[in-house]
Amino acid sequence: MVEREVAWRVFAHEFIHSDYFFHDGDEFSPNYLVTPTGARVNRLYFVGVLTEIDNLGAGEDMWRARVSDPTGAFSVYAGQYQPQASVFLSGLDVPCFVAITGKARTYEPEDGTIYTSVRPEELNTANDSIRDRWIVDTARLTYERIGLVRSAMDSGLKGDELTDMLVQSGASPKLANGILRAVSHYTDLDKYLNTLSGVIVDTLKNLTSADQSPSPGIGISHAMEEVARSKPVDAMVKETPARYSIEGTQPTQSTEPAQPTQSPQPARSTEPAQPTQSPQSAQSIEPTQPTQSPQPARSTEPAQSTQSPHIVQSTEPENARVAGKEIDDGTTDSEPARPEEDKPEPDEMVYELMGIMDKGNGVPVTELVDESKRSGLTDEQVDGAVKTLMSEGRCYEPRIGVLRRV
């Protein structure tokens, strides 16, 4: 029995400040991102605000999303092997609350910096109460990890002795291992822990005062993420501005509570924050789209005024989960409801259906054809798609008349 990897709770601030990726044993053993507080992240779970969604590249189906929590933003990439995630993301309108379970990834450009991102496994729309709950849970767990790392640094112990001490103090063996690694990898850890503690306290205080606001933090978190992201990762410890920038943006939130009835407002309020972002950082993280930052705004703005699902959702953000469900339905089970230009290639649709319909033993061709036709494809298109997928090695025929994804 292989033990399932725990989905760690880390704030974006900590996630983007992590630059220690390791991998034990053979090529099949899992990768871990060790964060400054010793979380040994292979999988993580977070709830935040979807602030950007882009389709990268022309031919390849690669979606990039940014999901913001009050401390920063997670970059989420869904490619051809995450078809459900891609379909889900492509059907959402920004901003909205999302809950994501995914795997930690890193991207290392030439210059030695490391960017962290998330490859989604499972996504859903969420609401403010789910998000607030996540913040409280994540704050508690992070605060506990900070305490353990501090006690590790103060103890002067090493190796097994340190592990024993940490386990005695309540750490799981995995966390103890992560803390050992974090303590030896990260320099100036003490300062970063102070910064992170400050960020957590500010975030929590924000939550206590945001009681009356129906959907707190959309504008502020977007502004925050840009500041946080613009920091070079390797210089993290010298940085305290991240924390001050939260304070700096706090008034934005209190003076301008996101109002449920104003749908374009949150989107526009994020606009002024963008100039503060250093353009270099945006370029380096998305080498495929150097001019990326202004684009999403332009591409999503017109869509908002024309797409009806967005109105449904943005008029009731306090009930986003209910509204989100409708959007969800539109994206996952009724393809024709989507705008024509969003419809994926027949190949991808068939591929997608093959995955959805497969309950473990492959999908009979006849059923696949029926289902595809119901989604608006012709016999020829399905035939062609199956041939293409076979020749690309993305599906195979385990038995005559049955297809299965590779």
Partner: protein, 448 residues
């Protein structure tokens, strides 16, 4: 590594001498040296030379915790913790055998002596040419006519060993297969049951025990008036055995059950009774758990959730009304949800049956059929459920087991939990700032 060879060579010659074999000392020395050059451990090298020249099988010296099924010719040194006689019929002859528990510094094991070696409780013995059999799922030491039992001075083993076993163990610490279990429990409920065994009907007592850490089921194979609901009892020399994946306290004929001087009060068991959720990292390293409460986020709804079809004969989940045992059948609809619950410290799979599925989704089987539509699109139901549940915080109760497919909890109840985030955040801020206040010198004050 330098090993002084001469004493070992002498030892080998002496041992060979007892069987009447004489071997040239130079040959033994040369072969032993060669084996040691190959980094063969000296004990193993001696064994192989004795086997080669004298056909002598030296027993392998083992600690109790190292014993595995089927091992033969072993030597153990242990203290007899408990010994009882039992009359058994072997080949239509009555015979008295001795069963009990022995302990060394690595652990405790049950044993069976097939001959009377005059053993008594507290003796420290060295047993050679013993063997190991599986008994009730655990290795058990067996020794008989061909074994040698030597009583040692009782100071040969640290005296504190058995003392440590005198300490009662908490229920949450008990593991499957533990012999010689000593614990103090309060009986929550108990009932007599008639069961049929191969020796005819028998009355047993089954029930639930509780202490400050957990609840566990128990089975008593002998009636005991102390095992009545509300009593606090001290149990010695019971043993743990899994029953349907849940560790169960077994009370046998050699177990002592006595009234405990210090009762377990309601306040002691409040955490367990009130179903205060246990963190997942604290529970996933147990072998199994009985009626535990846990809390976390649903981070993944697994395939196979929603509307399912079962074989009316055997209840197996089937596709297209074809059961792999009963062939074409008229399937029966059912609902279930399998999801991953994760609290950031641990993860497990939770299974909800039809009633609980309806409780959390609001879907009856009829409603689920409606969603599936005329063409029974089951993935539509699954997607609906995923959309409703993924990300939610849930609390649930049930029995947790470990198996081939990982850790699973079958829920007996489930509820969506909501907290007041503002209040919870305020509490945590107070805690964090309080901690900083009480530990001067930690962190730069200007950052706070």
């Amino acid at each position: 590594m330098e090993v002084k060879i001469a004493p070992h060579v002498d030892e080998i010659i002496r041992a060979l001498g007892t069987t009447g074999t004489t071997v040239n000392q130079a040959i033994i020395k040369e072969e032993l040296t060669r084996l040691l050059e190959f980094k063969v451990p000296v004990e193993e090298a001696k064994r192989s030379l004795l086997k080669k020249y004298g056909n002598i099988d030296l027993p392998s010296v083992k600690k109790l915790s190292e014993l595995g099924a089927g091992e033969r010719n072993i030597e153990v040194t242990a203290r007899i913790l408990e010994i009882n006689t039992k009359v058994v019929g072997i080949k239509e002859q009555e015979r008295t055998i001795f069963m009990g528990t022995m302990v060394d510094e690595t652990g405790a094991r049950s044993f069976t002596a097939w001959e009377d070696f005059g053993l008594e409780k507290g003796d420290v013995v060295k047993i050679t040419n013993a063997y190991v059999r599986m008994w009730q799922g655990m290795p058990e030491i067996n020794f008989g006519a061909r074994s040698k039992v030597e009583k040692l001075d009782s100071s040969a083993l640290e005296p504190l060993l058995s003392k440590d076993l005198e300490r009662p163990v908490l229920l949450a610490e008990l593991k499957e297969g533990d012999p010689a279990v000593h614990t103090v429990i309060r009986i929550m409920e108990s009932a007599q049951r008639e069961i049929n065994t191969k020796n005819g009907p028998r009355t047993i007592v089954t029930g639930t025990a509780i202490d400050s850490t957990a609840k566990l089921p128990f089975t008593s194979w002998v009636p005991s008036p102390e095992l009545t609901a509300g009593n606090t009892v001290e149990i010695k020399n019971a043993y743990m055995r899994s029953w349907q994946g849940i560790p169960t306290i077994n009370i046998g004929e050699f177990t002592s059950v006595s009234h405990s001087e210090t009762p377990i009060d309601d306040s002691d068991i409040a955490m367990v009774m009130d179903h205060v959720p246990i963190r997942l990292d604290k529970i996933t390293d147990r072998d199994g758990a009985f009626d535990v409460s846990i809390e976390g986020n649903i981070i993944s709804v697994r395939p196979g959730s929603g509307l399912i079809t079962r074989c009316p004969e055997c209840n197996r989940v089937i596709q297209k009304n074809i059961c792999r045992v009963h062939g074409l059948v008229k399937g029966r609809n059912d609902m279930r949800i399998k999801y991953i619950l994760d609290d950031g410290t641990g993860a497990l799979t939770v299974v909800l049956g039809a009633d609980l599925t309806q409780k959390v989704t609001g879907y009856s089987i009829e409603k689920a059929r409606e969603i599936a539509g005329a063409d029974m699109n089951l993935s539509a139901v699954e997607e609906k459920i995923r959309g409703k549940l993924m990300g939610l915080s849930m609390r649930m109760r049930g029995n947790m087991t470990k198996g081939e497919y990982g850790i699973t909890l079958v829920a007996s109840d489930v509820e969506v939990t909501e907290i007041n985030p503002a209040a919870a955040a305020a509490d945590l801020v107070k805690e964090i700032e309080g901690a900083i206040h009480h530990s001067p010198g930690q962190g730069d004050s200007d950052l706070w």
